[in-house]
């Protein structure tokens, strides 16, 4: 990929070496800069949603009736095809006749969701949360199951309350899982393509054009393979640096 990023290549002829010319265009490329911002916002949104999956994981770790059923309900979106679920959510978000209007219309709210540059990205974040919350809560659940019950027993004997137990026992012991989930969710978030393609095609006005979608456009609409590889390299470097920081942070603490 790095090798091709040093070339100009349209697939139709041999790649032509141009050195770092592609990299010089990046700062001038307003679409690349905007796509990077959109990707970062989406990533932030996905990380912020992480605690919700933890709460669900903790809930699923309790004993109650029909626990397996609830688990299945939350996990089901993860196994549905992303194209299918994206199409369904696109209908849900339809401002004229979508399911969401049942709730927003009585409140006098009229939101154009996927056609509004302020709401389009959050709308896709909510969709992504619906898809992945079951999966990440399962990972949290696995981490919670791995905590020896003796730790809780010892803490209870010492008179620790629930919040204290959670803060000083559960969370620290979940660090390996936390690190894994953060790294996996970051990689998943920057690679996310299907909902952006199906629901908004990167619009409106680039409000949901992530770097992954931009790479696709540059490669397959404009046939600028070399430049697409350049953007891919930058994306890889950013994710790699982020992952390194995370590993270092969790190692030190």
């Amino acid at each position: 990929m790095f090798y091709l990023s040093l070339h100009s290549w349209s697939l139709l002829s041999s790649p032509r070496f141009i050195g770092f010319e592609n990299y010089k265009f990046l700062p001038q490329d307003s679409v690349f800069i905007k796509s990077a911002k959109v990707t970062f916002c989406y990533l932030l949104g996905m990380i912020i949603f992480g605690p919700l999956a933890l709460i669900l994981g903790i809930a699923l770790n309790q004993d109650f009736r029909f626990k397996q059923l609830y688990w299945g309900i939350f996990f089901a979106p993860y196994v549905i095809s992303l194209v299918v679920s994206s199409l369904v959510w696109k209908l849900i978000y339809n401002p004229s006749a979508g399911l969401l209007t049942l709730f927003t219309s009585p409140l006098g709210l009229h939101i154009k969701w996927l056609k509004d540059e302020h709401y389009a990205l959050p709308a896709i974040m909510v969709y992504s949360l619906w898809v992945y919350i079951g999966y990440y809560s399962t990972l949290w659940l696995a981490g919670l199951k791995g905590i020896p019950p003796e730790c809780y027993e010892a803490a209870a004997i010492d008179g620790a309350g629930k919040w204290t137990i959670f803060r000083y026992i559960t969370l620290p012991l979940l660090k390996p899982v936390t690190l894994f989930i953060i790294v996996v969710s970051v990689i998943g978030a920057v690679q996310m393509f299907v909902p952006f393609f199906v629901m908004t095609q990167g619009g409106p006005a680039g409000a949901t054009q992530t770097l992954a979608y931009y790479i696709y456009k540059v490669a397959f609409s404009f046939l600028r393979m070399g430049y697409a590889c350049t953007v891919s390299v930058i994306l890889f470097v950013l994710v790699f640096i982020f992952a390194l920081i995370q590993v270092k942070f969790f190692k030190e603490s």
């Binding site: 697939l11 265009f25 001038q28 490329d29 978000y93 619009g203 409106p204 609409s221």
Partner: protein, 434 residues
């Protein structure tokens, strides 16, 4: 005796197995010989963007008819949704898996020719002595959009302009006369606001609406506004953006004002249904839309009018053509051109069934066309043709189109100031032309 019986049983079993094996081999051999790879049939792959009325017409009428006349040819037809088609076709062609023949918009010709993906028309196969003779068989100027460097690369199956569609019922309800349609963009703005209906703050009917989400529609709708004011997207040399003028700013502003009537309301990626079902009172489209609309709503009461213009400005409309093209790397170019030749002689049927105008000389003289329902609407479009102009030509058309799309959406959807949007557009076009 037992030994003899056993021997006979064994012998019978072996014969039975042998017969079954022989039958199986015969079946396999039959299938093999019956398959087209062994037969004389040539398979021609044919891709087009998906247009429901056209799909039905090709699959139920045209292709079976051609295959019956040419039993050695089998047409493998694929209709692909346009947003996907835009990416699938160039990649398939580049990767060597492209179709033998395909549909292409005139705006993409320069790109595909630059990549060496289009085969120039062979006049000989179509029965003409040379290109000059071929051009005489088509209405003057109708092949210009599919020509580059003096060579014709495709033959048109659609030759279009965009005119104004109005819902007569909505006009009458609002006390307006549909026989006196708006003639300027300012009038569209005023009447559009009057015809728009809201309920609890939500637009339930748009007096006027554009098409959002598909770049080519932005180009086809926006370009005439720009040309009418004397502007253009690129400079004459095609080396830079020429939108940073009063014409560019005014055209973008008017586009944005017209978009604000409904505010990109309905969220439909393709509002063919919206006009047909009465959710939009006025929109701009081609004659091909009529059979589609009537298929959705046979009771639609509508009329067509000339494309509006700016008060006191030149009347300019858009021209565009979809053409049948042949893959330069196809091994069946002759067969492809022969099929295209057959298709180009079906002008009356194309027009009557799906309102596609094939500008072959004399097509209007056909008595079937004059009797058809579509003929009633033709005069408006034929008049708009006279003032038509093709979209810009560039090897980097796709990137320029994307940049213009973003510029338009920044104004029409996010409400950005047109001048600010054009500044970003200048930088984007500079990058696109590198």
């Amino acid at each position: 005796m037992e030994g003899l019986k056993t021997h006979k049983r064994r012998d019978f079993k072996m014969k039975k197995r042998g017969n079954i094996l022989l039958l199986g081999l015969m079946f396999v051999a039959f299938s093999f010989f019956a398959s087209s790879s062994w037969s004389q049939k040539t398979t021609l792959t044919f891709w087009m963007h998906h247009h429901p009325p056209a799909y039905d017409f090709y699959t139920t009428k045209i292709i079976p008819e051609y295959e019956k006349l040419n039993p050695d040819i089998q047409i493998e037809y694929s209709a692909i949704p346009y947003p996907v088609y835009q990416q699938k076709l160039p990649i398939a062609l580049a990767g060597g898996t492209g179709p033998d023949m395909f549909g292409l918009g005139d705006w993409n010709i320069a790109e595909y020719v630059a990549r060496g993906q289009l085969e120039p028309v062979d006049p000989g196969i179509l029965g003409f002595e040379n290109q000059e003779e071929l051009e005489k068989a088509w209405i003057s100027g109708s092949l210009d959009g599919l020509k580059l460097g003096g060579r014709i690369y495709c033959l048109p199956w659609e030759y279009n302009t965009f005119s104004l569609f109005i819902n007569n019922k909505h006009f009458r309800e609002a006390g307006l006369d549909p026989n006196n349609p708006p003639k300027t963009w300012r009038e569209i703005l005023t009447i559009g606001k009057k015809l728009t209906k809201r309920e609890a703050g939500k637009v339930i009917r748009a007096g006027f609406d554009w098409v959002y989400g598909q770049s080519i529609w932005y180009m086809l709708h926006f370009s005439p506004l720009l040309w009418q004011l004397g502007g253009s997207i690129l400079n004459p040399a095609g080396t830079g953006c020429a939108m940073n003028t009063s014409a560019g700013v005014s055209a973008l502003k008017m586009y944005g004002d017209l978009a604000s009537i409904a505010g990109a309301e309905f969220g439909a990626d393709f509002p063919t249904e919206d006009f047909a079902t009465g959710k939009v009172s006025m929109w701009i489209s081609g004659i091909w839309y009529i059979p589609w609309a009537l298929q959705i709503n046979p009771d639609l009461d509508f009329s067509v009018a000339s494309l509006p213009t700016f008060q006191g400005k030149s009347r300019t409309t858009v021209l565009y053509a979809w053409g049948w093209c042949v893959n330069s790397h196809s091994k069946r170019k002759t067969e492809a051109w022969k099929f295209i030749d057959f298709l180009t002689k079906k002008a009356p049927e194309f027009f009557i069934k799906i309102a596609y105008i094939q500008p072959r000389r004399g097509w209007l003289d056909d008595p079937q066309i004059k009797k058809s329902e579509m003929y009633n609407y033709l005069s408006v479009f034929l008049d708009d043709f006279k003032y038509g102009r093709y979209l810009l030509r560039s090897e980097h058309y796709s990137e320029i189109q994307e940049a213009v799309t973003r510029a338009i959406e920044r104004v029409a959807i996010t409400g950005m100031d047109p001048e600010e949007s054009i500044k970003i557009l200048e930088s984007d076009i500079k990058l696109a032309l590198r």
